[in-house]
């Protein structure tokens, strides 16, 4: 039973490494995730991610660790913070402008 649990834990860690490294950019490749890349840099990061997950660190902590060293560029999905406010809010700005135009158009048609 202990053996089964150990195998399950290992598979689980590998799955978590895969999920996390799929969200990380290989800085030395062209648009490849760290998971998909075999570059030395990517292999190092995979190793570090695995070590940290085994040590019980959360995905969030690992991302924070990597962002502190490599910058937000390493993340495929930008962080929701003050610097990226424009990026995240732009679709809503577009939506508001679109709704505004639709309203004006309907109002003009009615008139």
């Amino acid at each position: 039973m202990f053996f089964t649990f150990k195998i399950y834990a290992l598979e689980n860690i590998d799955e978590r490494v895969k999920n996390l490294t799929l969200e990380l950019r290989c800085m030395t490749c062209q648009n490849q995730s760290i998971y998909d890349s075999d570059a030395e840099f990517s292999n190092d990061i995979k190793k570090i991610v695995k070590q940290k997950l085994q040590a019980g660190e959360s995905e969030r902590d690992i991302k924070k660790f990597l962002v502190e060293r490599y910058g937000e560029y390493i993340l495929f999905r930008p962080l929701m913070n003050y610097n990226n406010i424009f990026l995240w809010s732009f679709p809503f700005i577009l939506l508001i402008i679109g709704v505004f135009f639709v309203l004006i158009k309907t109002k003009t048609k009615k008139a």
Binding site: M27, F41, R69, G71, E72, F101
Partner: protein, 174 residues
């Protein structure tokens, strides 16, 4: 008046788009993202000397010293290109502390490289497992960092430094 009212949101959108475009095209090279450690404290490190495993260098040892840190390896061809420039820096700025980190290199290869091409460094630290490079956010060799007397990273360069980089970017900071 009504026309202006209708066109205002479009104008706002246009201005936003122009600003975004100017920002995106402001000469930033997407292959060279800005360093997350720029203007931050130099990471904590500890490394043994390539020549004497009993000799150790730590972050505290470069305190109050202007230090140029260079990550290199014998297997890295671009490192060979920039290597002679470190002798130039050494000659022009003898007060500058030159610290080389030999990254993931067999000791014998590293020693042979420095024997053949010369050793411009005050100290050559070993980074066998690449963990020091990881702390510095290195993702390709060579990479060079300039640390000021307060222990802050004031300059980072990815790739081999050139005469132009030395003259226009490093020397003004020395």
């Amino acid at each position: 008046m009504r026309r202006i009212f209708i066109l205002t949101p479009l104008l706002v959108l246009l201005i936003i788009c122009i600003f975004s475009l100017v920002y995106l095209l402001s000469g930033k090279d997407p292959n060279k993202p800005p360093s997350a450690l720029l203007n931050k404290d130099v990471p904590i490190f500890e490394s043994t000397s390539l020549y004497n495993s009993k000799e150790i260098i730590k972050t505290i040892d470069i305190k109050n010293k202007k230090t140029l840190i260079n990550f290199f390896a014998s297997w890295c061809s671009p490192c060979k290109i920039e290597h002679p420039l470190f002798f130039e820096i050494r000659k022009k700025h003898p007060e500058l502390y030159l610290l080389g980190f030999n990254h993931k290199d067999p000791t014998t290869d590293a020693k042979k490289y420095l024997e053949d091409d010369g050793n411009p460094y005050d100290f050559v630290g070993v980074d066998a497992d690449g963990l020091i490079a990881l702390e510095f956010g290195v993702f390709g060799l060579p990479e060079t960092y300039l640390i000021n007397e307060d222990g802050k990273i004031i300059f980072k360069f990815m790739g081999p430094i050139t005469k132009d980089v030395l003259k226009n970017e490093i020397e003004p900071l020395l």
